[in-house]
C-alpha cells in the first residue's frame, strides 16, 4: 500500500470514528465539549515541530515554524486549561448523577 493510500485510509477511518464518538451530548456540555475539541485541534503542533526540524539552517523557515508552534500551543494549552476550568465547576454535580 502506498503512503498516500494508507494516509487516505487513516483519514477515512479517523473521520468515521469522529462521527461515532459523540452521539448524544447533554446541552450542559456543548460549550466544554466544543472547547475541548478545539484544544485537540491544536494537534497541529506536530506539524509545527516537524517544520522546525526540517528547516535546517533556513532562518525564515525557523521563524515561521516557531510562530506556528506558538499559535498552536496557545490553542492547546489555553484550550485544555479553560475547558478544565469550566468542568471543574461541575464537580459536585458529577457525584449526583
Amino acid at each position: 500500500m502506498s503512503v498516500l493510500t494508507q494516509s487516505l485510509w487513516v483519514l477515512l477511518l479517523g473521520s468515521l470514528l469522529g462521527l461515532e464518538l459523540i452521539g448524544k451530548v447533554p446541552p450542559t456540555l456543548h460549550t466544554p465539549l466544543m472547547s475541548g475539541a478545539n484544544a485537540i485541534s491544536g494537534i497541529t503542533v506536530l506539524a509545527s515541530l516537524t517544520l522546525i526540524q526540517q528547516a535546517g539552517d533556513n532562518t525564515a523557515l525557523l521563524v515561521i515554524g516557531a510562530l506556528s508552534l506558538g499559535f498552536a500551543l496557545y490553542n492547546v494549552i489555553g484550550g485544555f486549561l479553560v475547558t478544565d476550568r469550566m468542568l471543574a465547576m461541575f464537580r459536585r454535580k458529577g457525584d449526583s448523577r
Binding site: V45, L67, I77
Partner: protein, 476 residues
C-alpha cells in the same frame, strides 16, 4: 535512529490516538468530562514526545522550539486563567483562530521554502491547508469580534450582493488552488491566502450574534480539517487521524447545536442575520408593536416572591451580559431560607451558546439539582407560583408553540405562560434575536420589570430583606 526507538515512537502514537478518542468520547458525559479532558491533554503530550523521539531535533531546532513553546504556552496559560466565564464563547473562537493560523503558517512555510521534493499530494494538501487554515483564522477572529461587541452586522452585508462577493472569492480561491502546484511559492499561493482570508470574513460577517455559537462550532470543525491537511503536508498520520476525528466530531456537535436552536446549517450560513430581513436591523424591535404591556416595580415583584411557594428562574442572555449570576444565587438562597422552593429552567440554548448558562450558574455555586432542563421543567410550570425571566426572550415566546406563522414556530420553548405569575426582567421592550414581538409580554399574568438584570436582582434582594425575609437566619 534505531528500530527499537521507531517502534517505541509508533507505540506512543497509537496510545495517543486511543487516548484522544477516549477523551472526545468522555467529554460528552457529565461524570467523565473532566477526566476525559485530562486524558486528551495527556494524549497531546504523548504525541509531542513521540514525535520528538522520532525527529530528534538538533540544538538549533531545540532553541526555536523552546522559544515558540514558551511564548505560546505562557500566553495560553495567562488567557485561560484571566478570562471571565461570561467570555467563554469568544475565547474559544480566539483559540480556534490561532489553531487555524498555525496550520496556515506551516503550509505557507512549506510552500515557500520546502517544495523541492514535494509530490502532487503534498502540493494539493498545501492548497487545502492554506484555504481552510485562513478561513478558520479570519472567520474565528470575526466571530470573536462580533461576540465581544467590537463588530456589528453592517447593513450592506445583508444585501444579496454579499453572495456575489463571496462566490467571486470562492472562485478566486479555487483557481489559485488549481494553479498552485505549477508554481508553489508564487502568486497563486498569495492569492489563495488573501482570497481565503477575505472569504472567511465575508462568510462570517453577515451572520447574526445568535447564530455565532454554531459558526464557532463549525469553524472548530474546520480547524480539525486544517490540522488533517497539515498532516498530509508534513506526512504525519497521527495528525491526519486526530484532525479527522476532531473535524468529524465538530461537525456532529454543530449539527446538535443547530437542532437545539431549531436552525438549519444552511440558513445559518447563507440566510444572513435572523430577522434582519424583517426590517429589524440594528437590534431594537419596534416597541409600538406592543399594546397591553404591564410594568411593575421591584417592590411589587418582591411581594409576589415573598408569597410564593414555588419559584422558577429562567436565566437568559441578559443575565450573562449583566454578569448577574451571583446576585441570582443570593436571591435564591434568601428565598430558600424563607421556605420557597427554587429551581432554574435551562433552555438548551440559554446564554450565549448551548450549555453556557450551566457553566455560568455553576460558577455561582448554584446546586446542580436545581438546574432543570426543558423537558423536565415544562410539566412543572402549571404548579409554579412565580416565574422570573431574566433577560431571556425568544426561548419563552409562546408563539413558537401556538402561531404557525411565527418565524419561531417549532422552536422548543419553555412554557412559562403556564405559570400563575410571570415577571420578565428586561432592559427594554427590544426584540430578541428573532426580531419579533413576544406574546408572553402581553399576557395578563405577565408583568415587565425594566432594568439591568443585576440591578433588578439587587433591588429585589434589598426589598425582600426590608420585608424581613431571611431575618431569622441572619440573626441566628
Amino acid at each position: 535512529m534505531t528500530f527499537s526507538m521507531d517502534a517505541f515512537a509508533a507505540a506512543i502514537d497509537l496510545a495517543a490516538v486511543l487516548l484522544l478518542a477516549l477523551g472526545i468520547k468522555g467529554l460528552s458525559k457529565v461524570s467523565s468530562a473532566r477526566g476525559a479532558n485530562g486524558l486528551a491533554a495527556l494524549a497531546m503530550g504523548l504525541a509531542v514526545v513521540g514525535l520528538l523521539i522520532q525527529i530528534r531535533p538538533d540544538p538549533i531546532a531545540w532553541l526555536w522550539i523552546a522559544a515558540g513553546s514558551a511564548a505560546g504556552g505562557l500566553a495560553g496559560l495567562v488567557t485561560a486563567r484571566r478570562v471571565p466565564m461570561t467570555a467563554m464563547p469568544e475565547t474559544v473562537a480566539l483559540f480556534n483562530g490561532c489553531g487555524g493560523m498555525a496550520s496556515l503558517l506551516v503550509a505557507m512555510g512549506v510552500a515557500i521554502f520546502d517544495t523541492g521534493d514535494a509530490d502532487i499530494v503534498a502540493l494539493v494538501s498545501i492548497a487545502v491547508s492554506v484555504f481552510v487554515g485562513a478561513i478558520t483564522f479570519s472567520g474565528s477572529i470575526v466571530a470573536m469580534a462580533k461576540l465581544q461587541g467590537w463588530l456589528d452586522t453592517p447593513g450592506w452585508t445583508q444585501s444579496r450582493l454579499r453572495h456575489g462577493v463571496n462566490i467571486s472569492l470562492a472562485v478566486l480561491c479555487l483557481v489559485s488552488a488549481l494553479l498552485l502546484p505549477g508554481d508553489p511559492s508564487g502568486l497563486p499561493l498569495w492569492l489563495l491566502m488573501g482570497g481565503s482570508t477575505l472569504l472567511g470574513i465575508g462568510v462570517t460577517l453577515p451572520i447574526g450574534g445568535a447564530d455565532m455559537p454554531v459558526v464557532i462550532s463549525l469553524l472548530n470543525s474546520y480547524s480539525g480539517v486544517a490540522a488533517a491537511a497539515a498532516g498530509f503536508v508534513v506526512g504525519s498520520q497521527l495528525l491526519i487521524v486526530a484532525g479527522a476525528m476532531v473535524g468529524a466530531a465538530g461537525l456532529i456537535l454543530t449539527q446538535v447545536m443547530c437542532t437545539a436552536m431549531n436552525r438549519s446549517l444552511v440558513s445559518v450560513l447563507f440566510g444572513g442575520a435572523l430577522g434582519a430581513s424583517a426590517g429589524a436591523v440594528g437590534g431594537g424591535g419596534s416597541e409600538a408593536g406592543y399594546t397591553r404591556i404591564t410594568s411593575c416595580s421591584a417592590e411589587e415583584c418582591a411581594m409576589a416572591l415573598e408569597q410564593a411557594e414555588r419559584v422558577v428562574f429562567v436565566p437568559g442572555y441578559g443575565l450573562a451580559v449583566a454578569q448577574a449570576q451571583h446576585s441570582l444565587r443570593e436571591l435564591a438562597k434568601l428565598l430558600e431560607s424563607h421556605g420557597v422552593q427554587v429551581s432554574y429552567a435551562i433552555h438548551p440554548v440559554a446564554g450565549r451558546m448551548p450549555g453556557h448558562m450551566n457553566v455560568l450558574l455553576a460558577e455561582a455555586d448554584v446546586p446542580y439539582e436545581q438546574l432543570l432542563e426543558m423537558d423536565l421543567v415544562n410539566p412543572e410550570f402549571p404548579r409554579t407560583d412565580v416565574v422570573i425571566v431574566l433577560g431571556a426572550n425568544d426561548v419563552v415566546n409562546p408563539q413558537a408553540k401556538n402561531d404557525p406563522t411565527s418565524p419561531l414556530y417549532g422552536l422548543p420553548v419553555l412554557e412559562v405562560d403556564q405559570a400563575r405569575q410571570v415577571f420578565v426582567v428586561k432592559r427594554s421592550l427590544g426584540s430578541g434575536y428573532a426580531g419579533i414581538n413576544n406574546a408572553l409580554f402581553e399576557m395578563p399574568q405577565t408583568a415587565m420589570v425594566f432594568g439591568d438584570a443585576k440591578a433588578v436582582l439587587n433591588g429585589l434582594l434589598s426589598e425582600l430583606r426590608s420585608m424581613g425575609v431571611g431575618k431569622v437566619k441572619v440573626a441566628a
